[in-house]
Amino acid sequence: MIARLLTAVLLVVATAPVLPAAAVELVIGLAADVTSIDPHNNNAAPNNSIAEQIFNKLIENDPRQNLKPGLAESWRTIDDLTWEFKLRRGVKFHDGSEFTAADVAYSIERPGIINTPGGFTIYTRSIIDKIIVDPYTIRLKTATPYPNMPTDMAGLIIVSSKAARDATNADFDSGKATIGTGPWKFVRYAKGDRIELARNDNYWGPKPAWDKVTFRLITSDPSRIAALLAGDVQMIEVVPTADFARLKTNNNITVFTTVSNRMIHLHLDSSRDKSPFITDKAGKPLDKNPLKDARVRKAISKAINRNAIVERVMEGLAIPAGQLMPEGFFGVSPNLKAEVYDPEGAKKLLAEAGYPDGFGITLHGPNNRYVNDEQIVQAVAQMLARVGIATKVETLPFSVYVSRANKIEFSAALLGWGVTTGEATYPLRSLAATYSAPKGLGTWNWGRYSNPPMDALLEQGLATVDNAKREKLLQQATELLINDSGLIPLHYQVNTWAARKGLVYGPRTDERTYAHEVRPAP
């Protein structure tokens, strides 16, 4: 009897909602491993997400990735080659020292000094000189007109020039050098396990609602869900699509979603005369490459039923894509919509291009990188088969896949692109521009697609400081690319969070999980 009573009591305790009003500590389950606390060590999203809560940047991103003032109150160009940043006054580091322009200058130098493989020099390489006008004004000189400076500065963490000087990676992991200006102070980092932070009561911005936050690293999807259901954590990020519907109907759980900046697309081998995985329908190598013909690429795009992929494969957690970024980002063209599913039109285009009976192709993709990546590739293959393109599928672990794809070993390959900068030059430059090592263009152009008029528009855009003019150029470049089917957008992912009832999170396009943006429900 007592045992039964005890069980009943425990059941009630276990299923009772965790009341955030009483809890001053917040526990969040993260989906990816945080490998270092040094904010300049490894430019990877999980690390940046933590660093951005302890430190600030000159310019911050709002939940839709629009730029907003951070440690800089305003910024402007003095001339085509000079950017000036006016810094926020009265900001204190966690050790009580004052934040000034010297800290900005040092933070711009540091990525080049510590020199790590996945580092932050990409944000500082354009700067040839730094001029400290006064403690609250800094000017950055570039060799050529450089409109993307604010975007770059929205990626670079500002450290304390005193605490971080000569600090090693280990000094940051132990907290010795982890002195920032952000809403949270560093408490403890246990590798592979957790990160603990405490509220910075002197924070210059809106103060967090919690005294303490613990980020638990729970990389296994079902375990993360279980931890939330058990009440061990109050919030998780990255809800697996398969569990989403069940969580949504759970009365103790609230879910939050928003479109992601990550676009899933296909690269088609569009410049070589012969392509390694193109065959005739019997499987014999073809001495012509049909993908060079824009009509064939368009036919492939028309043959893909994006709504079906979104509904069936992604269980509704995606949005059909018609260009490089979802609505609301800088450079999105209002004239481009997701390609409508049209198998008849696809067959007609194939016939026009001289392939009335289709051909054979192998579609490659990763199997451990993007949400449901393997299933997406399989679904696309079946859709292509329906218009006569005999499609084989080969999926590989990302580590194998990305190396082979970078060597252009495939004919058709799936890639996901998170537009961390929130504007169009980044995907255009990396994915679509003609490959050129000296210019640093087309680095990830796996189809080696080349469209000189589009390149010209992009290069003009990269050097135009005027925002309105630049946006127009980028829109035009995107239209040229998509209308020529230079790559085939499939969908934008949807970012998901789930929390115990009583918590509210403003979901973010950049996949960040910020504890200071988690609030108790009003």
Partner: protein, 325 residues
């Protein structure tokens, strides 16, 4: 004895060389770590610079030679992704894994040997049959599934145990351990049991078959005829005689518990080195993979040595110097 140990050490050096070469070739064949590590915003010049900075632009044999040159001084390289000495990364994570493995092994021995003895002495009793049926489940159910079911039952529905993670740790001789405080123990219980399940079943079966065989031996019959109590017959005579295969298996399996606790560590978000290995393989962090495997090889060598020494204590007929290791 000295000859025996020297021979063992020489053999292990060869094993270490072969393993390191195999991993070098393996990782080289899989792909280029830079392709994964580099931030996608980097351009071609940046990629070339990073490749050169890690020495990945060199031919493989040059890279291997560089590795060997540093390895003899005890430096197994720095992690590509974490920019820290690989050995340090692994040793930071090792206490968590060793603690988990020791605890699992303890579960397996404390439960497995007595249950196996019971099932071996009374093979036809209903409880013996239940034990054996249970051991079949322990063998055949996949670890990750059992782990998830345990979390669902004990954390989500019953709310008795925390679902994942390592609890509060206390310092013991400078090493953080979690079995000295209640919070730590509650966190340790489920993953340890999950990891122990397979070994537990193995030990039950091994002990049972050993016991059944021993019970038919003349010395048992003689002991019975002499009127020794059953407790003494089983506890001293039978147990001592079936110990050799059990010690071998415990030794070997302990090594594999440490080396391959990966699945359990992932399911329970246990911050051990198995998780580190998986993460490193995913980003082709070669120095960590190489260092990990070399450390595990050393571990197996030491465990085998200990097992051999234990043999000679359990069975005076074994002479180490002549044993062909």
């Amino acid at each position: 004895m000295v000859v025996f140990i020297t021979r063992r050490v020489l053999q292990s050096v060869i094993a270490l060389l072969v393993m390191s070469a195999l991993i070098f070739i393996g990782v080289f064949a899989i792909g280029n770590p830079i392709d994964i590590l580099i931030n996608p915003q980097a351009d071609q010049a940046e990629i070339a610079r990073a490749t050169a900075a890690l020495g990945l632009d060199q031919p493989m044999w040059v890279q291997y030679w560089e590795f060997l040159r540093h390895a003899v001084t005890g430096d197994l390289g720095r992690s590509f992704s974490q920019n820290m000495p690989a050995v340090q990364l692994i040793f930071e994570r090792m206490p968590a894994t060793v603690e988990l493995a020791l605890c699992a092994m303890l579960f397996a021995i404390v439960l497995g040997v007595p249950l196996g003895l019971v099932a071996g002495i009374k093979p036809d009793a209903w409880y013996s049959k239940t034990i054996m049926a249970g051991s079949i489940f322990g063998f055949s159910l996949p670890t990750f599934w059992v782990g998830l079911m345990m979390i669902m039952v004990f954390s989500v529905y019953l709310g008795w145990l925390p679902s994942t993670g390592r609890g509060h740790t206390t310092q013991l001789f400078g090493i953080p351990v979690s079995f000295l405080n209640w919070d730590g123990i509650t966190h340790l219980m489920m993953p340890a049991l999950n990891l122990a399940l397979f070994k537990l079943s193995l030990l039950i079966r091994l002990t049972r078959s050993g016991t059944r065989e021993a019970m038919l031996q003349d010395y048992v019959k003689f002991a019975r005829a002499k009127g020794l109590p059953m407790r003494r017959i089983v506890g001293v005579h039978v147990l001592k005689n079936i110990m050799i295969p059990i010690v071998t298996v415990i030794g070997l399996e302990f090594g594999s518990l440490i080396a391959f606790a990966i699945v359990t560590e992932t399911i329970f978000a246990w911050p051990g080195m198995g998780k580190l290995l998986i993460d490193s393989i995913n980003v082709l962090d070669r120095p960590v993979i190489v260092a990990y495997v070399l450390i595990i090889v050393c571990l197996f060598v030491i465990i085998n040595l200990v097992v051999d020494l234990l043999y000679s204590m359990l069975d005076p007929r074994v002479r180490l110097a002549e044993a062909r290791a």
